[in-house]
């Protein structure tokens, strides 16, 4: 079976700075891939390319056989309108470093917003689903709270529920615990572990080596805009082959 996500030769520049210099990555269905590497390596940029928050300059990313941001027809790739890209993004959930919950809506409304407004679900059904999701992330008692009334860890768990409400095939996590106080990291990682166990396909940009070791099926190590080493955590983390990987891990441990 083909990989759920397949990136080939992805390049991206901001002005004159080339941030991605040909990224290759394949993620199978149900697989958890952790992107590790020093800051500035392009991990977050690559992740944002997967759901077309950034437009790539060269290369191609396929999600479930569909080229992201394009429509394939007559042997050509037609660039999609923003409205059509929005349709593609329904299947790809994303969790941000700084949560980005909608501050003017309650936790529950944050979760129902997508299903009701984007998928056109019946409000009552969406509410029931959302309550189940909030329960899953351990926050059913916070359904009516506004984001500002929640801790960082709680906000991030609501953000995960909001992404899950769209029933995505793929979840992208962009340093989901980096903005959290240390004592709140665990509650968010726990939710992610549960998600991985339930078979969700996940790409996680993280600095949590422990999480990568215990949850990831595959670790991809990025340096200077390219993936330099991939493999199971036991191989990449414990027996790295590339000098850059060895240096990085030596610093982190």
């Amino acid at each position: 079976m083909a990989a759920l996500v397949e990136a080939v030769g992805v390049r991206k520049s901001f002005g004159h700075t080339e941030v991605l210099k040909g990224v290759d990555l394949a993620v199978d269905r149900g697989e958890v891939v952790c992107l590790l590497g020093p800051s500035g390596a392009g991990k977050s940029t690559f992740l944002r390319c997967v759901n077309h928050l950034e437009t790539i300059d060269a290369g191609r990313i396929w999600v479930d056989g569909v080229p992201v941001g394009f429509r394939q027809a007559h042997g050509k790739l037609y660039e999609l309108r923003e409205r059509e890209v929005a349709r593609q993004r329904r299947d790809i959930g994303m969790v941000f470093q700084r949560f980005n919950l909608f501050p003017h809506r309650t936790a529950l409304e944050n979760v129902t917003e997508g299903p009701v407004r984007v998928l056109g679900l019946d409000r009552a059904a969406a509410r029931a689903d959302a309550m189940a999701l909030l329960d899953r992330v351990g926050l059913s008692d916070k359904a009516l709270s506004y984001p500002r009334q929640l801790s960082g860890g709680q906000q991030q768990r609501v953000a995960i529920a909001r992404a899950l409400a769209m029933e995505p095939k793929l979840m992208l996590f962009d340093e989901p615990t980096s903005a959290l106080d240390p004592e709140l990291v665990g509650e968010v990682l726990d939710v992610m572990v549960g998600l991985a166990r339930d078979g969700m396909t996940m790409i996680v940009v993280t600095h949590e080596i422990g999480f990568a070791r215990s949850v990831a099926d595959q670790v991809a190590f990025m340096v200077d805009g390219a993936v330099v080493e991939t493999g199971p955590p036991s191989q990449v983390l414990d027996n790295p082959q590339q000098p850059r990987t060895q240096q990085f891990l030596a610093k982190v441990y």
Binding site: R83, A86, R98, H104, M166
Partner: protein
Amino acid sequence: MASDLEVVPLRHYGRWVSGVLILAVVVGIVLAFVDAQIIWEDVPEFFTHETMIRGLLNTIVLAVLAQVGAIALGVVIALMRISVNPVARWFAVGYIWLFRGLPVLLQILVWFNLALVFEHISIPMLFEEKTNVLITAFVAALLGLGLNESAYMAEIVRAGLTSVDSGQVEAAKSIGMTPALTLRRVVLPQAMRVIIPPTGNNFINMLKGTSMASVIGFLELIHAANNIASRNLEVMETLLAAAAWYMVLVSIASIGQHYLERAYGRAG
């Protein structure tokens, strides 16, 4: 040891002196007006005079329509101003430059006298009408006030839109929202917090700005006051009656603004 000593509080003599002075000035002004040749008993009669009420209603209709139109236009111009399309951007810049740059009174006069330069206004194949018939005093005032205000609204809306964190737009995109839905459900509600206070301010200005329509003979409060005064020569009395109505309108608008701000204050 020092605790049993008497404490002498600081005396603020200056405050007493300045307070008395201010009161004296206020009392003096009030007495002057009481003494002045104003027939105060007539003011309430003018306040509820039929012409005055018509002027009042016209003032309200003109101000509300001009403001509502200005808000709608302002949103469009603001979106053009931050658009990726350079033509749209430059159009918006020019629009704001022109309509904000010219005095409202001049704009009202230009619209009112449009027939001097365009005899007919037409949309080919669809519509044709004599300019004189189409541009009444009301329409001219509406265009003059509304277009000027729309330039200000465009800047206010732009400030509001750019105040919303870009992460909000990304979050909206990530759950598959289209640009239109993102604007309506995520960006605008949060921009409101920034947009409402200056808009309320501008609306209060608009209420008073409608008085300029009196110059082209539109029956708003000032024109109504002048109409009544032309019959009985009680110029100050009729103006005071109009002044009272302006204060009523402005007070109501201020209260409305307060509640609007509270309703939209929820956003973080």
